[in-house]
């Protein structure tokens, strides 16, 4: 029979592990951004699986180190050497960004956690500093790392953002390491962002669905 001392010992082992409470102290300030960095990596994987090697760039120098923004920012900002990736498929050039703000159809600006956009527009906005137009956006994802029940308001907010992003957006999705049955039903309605719940290395099949969706959309877009 297990005793309270057994439980106490097991909890101590768990919390005192190098990946225990100390790990939490390290990650709590960047938990959301680390999840975005993971999704950014999955986008690179999708490009690679299409037979293209993505190139990492920095806004002002070689991306060493590769820096992810800590908050919403402008594509032309060079306060730090923010990183992004570029790739070409069938002569069409794209970029993958994290935390960049776009100008919506209404004129209001919106931050996309992770996005794929047309490179010509990105170049233009770096050359003549401006927020890229929503028409340059090909794909966009909201990324939410959560340790508890997902807040429904997040889903409604992202739907509003997508509605302001015009008609060139080929895929959009709401990614989270958790799931929420109500949000899942909300997103399953036609024309809404794809729900990518339980998207985590703990479930490779969900990673494959996400990656294959990007591959399919990029193939279709560049075949035309």
């Amino acid at each position: 029979m297990a005793t309270l001392a057994d439980l106490e010992n097991a909890i101590d082992v768990l919390l005192n592990h190098p990946l225990g409470a100390g790990q939490y102290q390290l990650v709590r300030r960047v938990e959301e951004k680390a999840y975005e960095a993971y999704i950014f990596g999955l986008c690179l994987r999708a490009v690679r699986e299409l037979g293209v090697v993505p190139i990492l760039r920095g806004i002002s120098a070689a991306p060493v180190p590769f820096i992810f923004r800590g908050g919403p920012g402008q594509i032309h900002s060079d306060r730090r050497n923010y990183g992004y990736a570029e790739f070409s498929i069938n002569g069409q050039d794209f970029e993958i960004h994290a935390g960049v703000e776009f100008k919506g159809s209404s004129g209001m600006t919106h931050e996309l956690d992770i996005c794929i956009m047309r490179q010509a527009a990105a170049d233009q906005c770096r050359e003549d500093p401006d927020d890229p137009p929503s028409s340059s956006l090909v794909a966009g994802w909201e990324c939410k790392f959560y340790d508890k029940r997902l807040d429904k308001v997040l889903g409604r907010a992202f739907l509003g953002l997508v509605a302001d992003m015009g008609n060139n957006l080929r895929i959009s999705g709401f990614c989270s390491n958790l799931e929420n049955a109500q949000l899942s039903r909300y997103f399953r309605l036609k024309g809404r962002p794809h729900p990518h719940f339980l998207l985590s290395p703990l479930d490779p099949s969900n990673e494959n669905i996400f990656v294959n969706q990007i591959k399919g959309a990029l193939k279709k877009l560049t075949e035309a």
């Binding site: 919390l15 592990h17 990946l19 090697v53 070689a62 820096i67 800590g70 985590s200």
Partner: protein, 179 residues
């Protein structure tokens, strides 16, 4: 109760007390996950001419459910976060490092396409910005951190597997047959 000499309430009290001592912020985070409660379908029986109906109701977790919620939340920090870092490292390693692409002059276009093809497959230094571009230098966060970015470092698979086993052990000790 059959396999333990303690109740779910004892287990939850001990668990939260240990968490509070180890890291009060983590304890607050876990407590808020527990306090969210859960949705259930409640049935209202038929009454006179009124038909029976179902409706959603948010209720607190039982002590045993609360223990499992707490473990799931810890799993997100202790297992998933390190896995995100490793996956990001793996995928970025397979890309190549290019030169900056800002094109002030036409002749720079040629140069901008240059990339170090030998960098493919090699581990890259990756950082997340802690002090964002809009924060003032006097901001308390920046002062507390003493660093402006946070390095995404790879975690050993063995370490992650150990924590998965440790979580499974605690989960098992917190699983009660009846309450």
């Amino acid at each position: 109760m059959s396999g333990q000499d303690y109740t779910p309430e004892d287990a939850l009290k001990l668990f939260m007390a240990k968490l509070r001592v180890k890291d009060s912020e983590l304890a607050i985070e876990i407590q808020s996950a527990i306090d969210q409660g859960k949705d259930i379908q409640q049935t209202e029986p038929a009454k006179g001419r009124k038909k029976a109906r179902e409706y959603r109701k948010t209720v607190p977790f039982s002590r045993q459910e609360a223990l499992q919620v707490a473990i799931n939340a810890l799993n997100a920090y202790f297992v998933e976060q390190p896995l995100f870092r490793n996956s990001c490292q793996d995928n970025i390693a397979q890309a190549v490092v290019g030169k900056p692409r800002r094109q002030r002059y036409t002749w720079e276009r040629e140069i901008s396409f240059a990339a170090d093809m030998e960098s493919q497959g090699k581990e890259k230094a990756i950082e997340i910005e802690l002090v964002t571009e809009t924060q003032l230098p006097s901001d308390t966060t920046a002062v507390q951190l003493h660093q402006e970015t946070w390095k995404i470092e790879r975690v050993t698979t063995e370490g992650i597997q150990e924590q998965q086993r440790n979580l499974a052990r605690v989960r098992e000790l917190m699983r009660f047959e009846d309450q």
